[in-house]
């Protein structure tokens, strides 16, 4: 056995020796801070979905007459035109996208 092997063995033997706990784990547990409350999982989705719903209602309420979402989609798809209905449709889509992104982040 050469010197390198001997040294490896000496180091590994030293590393393998156990240190008795002797109250160490208990001291660690006593030193642990109270865990920060996790983001309240029920509140955030409610807020996000509620905001999305209110935003959607406002978008519909203030939309010009005859500017429904379906019509906006059709306008965008068929005519590539930014009609008032298309604006409502884009606004609604944006609100839903932001809501989905926020909920996914917190999931």
């Amino acid at each position: 056995m050469n010197a390198t092997d001997k040294l490896d063995r000496i180091l590994r033997r030293d590393a393998a020796e156990d240190i008795a706990d002797e109250g160490f784990a208990a001291r660690v547990m006593a030193a642990l801070p109270a865990r920060e409350p996790r983001r309240q999982s029920g509140l955030n989705p409610t807020l996000v979905l509620g905001s999305a719903a209110v935003g959607s209602l406002l978008a519909v309420a203030f939309a010009p007459a005859n500017a429904n979402i379906l019509q906006g989609m059709i306008d965008l798809y068929q005519h590539h035109a930014l009609t008032p209905a298309a604006y409502v449709s884009i606004g609604m889509s944006a609100i839903l996208l932001v809501s989905a992104a926020l909920l996914a982040r917190d999931a």
């Binding site: 040294l7 490896d8 000496i10 180091l11 590994r12 240190i19 160490f24 547990m29 642990l32």
Partner: protein, 185 residues
């Protein structure tokens, strides 16, 4: 069968994260305390009190940051990384620690050490380890005491892989020289 077996580290971590299970974390501490304290004792040149303080800090930091643990790595690798950081922070408070390669250190060939003893006392080993540079001691602690691969040690210590290998090589040459010199003829 597996349900009767001791829960894995990953299972304990999930229990902590999902149920805030302190008992599960206590089991993780009990399971890893010996290795972490041994590594830190070697890093702190045998200062057991300081090593235990750093070990406690390590586990408290692990508790605080457990949600950032990525399950691709072993929990032990992750906790050693925290321990090395704690040691480096502590060392920096006292002085600049030198993790670079000491180019002036001699590299003796293995043929010089045929009289390497088979058994070395812990005290002699601690003294020999204390003569290493910070980087060399950290590399030996990571690769032998924490049982990390060179690649894992490189990540845990935040130093390039080549530097880890060089530190290990130089540290072993120095340790052999010190331990042979210690051996009574």
């Amino acid at each position: 069968m597996s349900s009767a077996a001791a829960p894995s580290d990953a299972e304990l971590i999930v229990a902590v994260l999902e149920r805030d299970d302190r008992q599960a974390f206590a089991r993780l501490v009990e399971r890893h305390q010996s290795k972490v304290r041994t590594v830190l004792r070697r890093l702190t040149k045998g200062d057991h009190a300081l090593a235990d303080d750093l070990a406690q800090e390590t586990f408290v930091l692990a508790w605080r940051n457990l949600r950032h643990f990525r399950f691709e790595a072993r929990f032990s690798t992750w906790i050693y990384r925290i321990a090395f950081n704690a040691w480096q922070s502590e060392a920096r408070k006292k002085r600049e620690i030198a993790m670079d390669i000491d180019d002036d250190a001699p590299l003796a060939g293995p043929e010089s050490f045929e009289e390497m003893p088979d058994i070395v006392s812990r005290m002699d080993l601690e003294r020999a380890m204390a003569c290493l540079s910070d980087g060399e001691r950290a590399a030996i602690a990571a690769c032998y005491y924490a049982d990390l691969s060179h690649e894992e040690a490189s990540v845990a210590l935040g130093m390039p892989l080549g530097t880890v290998k060089t530190h290990v090589m130089r540290a072993k040459a120095k340790l052999k020289a010190r331990l042979v010199a210690k051996e009574p003829s």
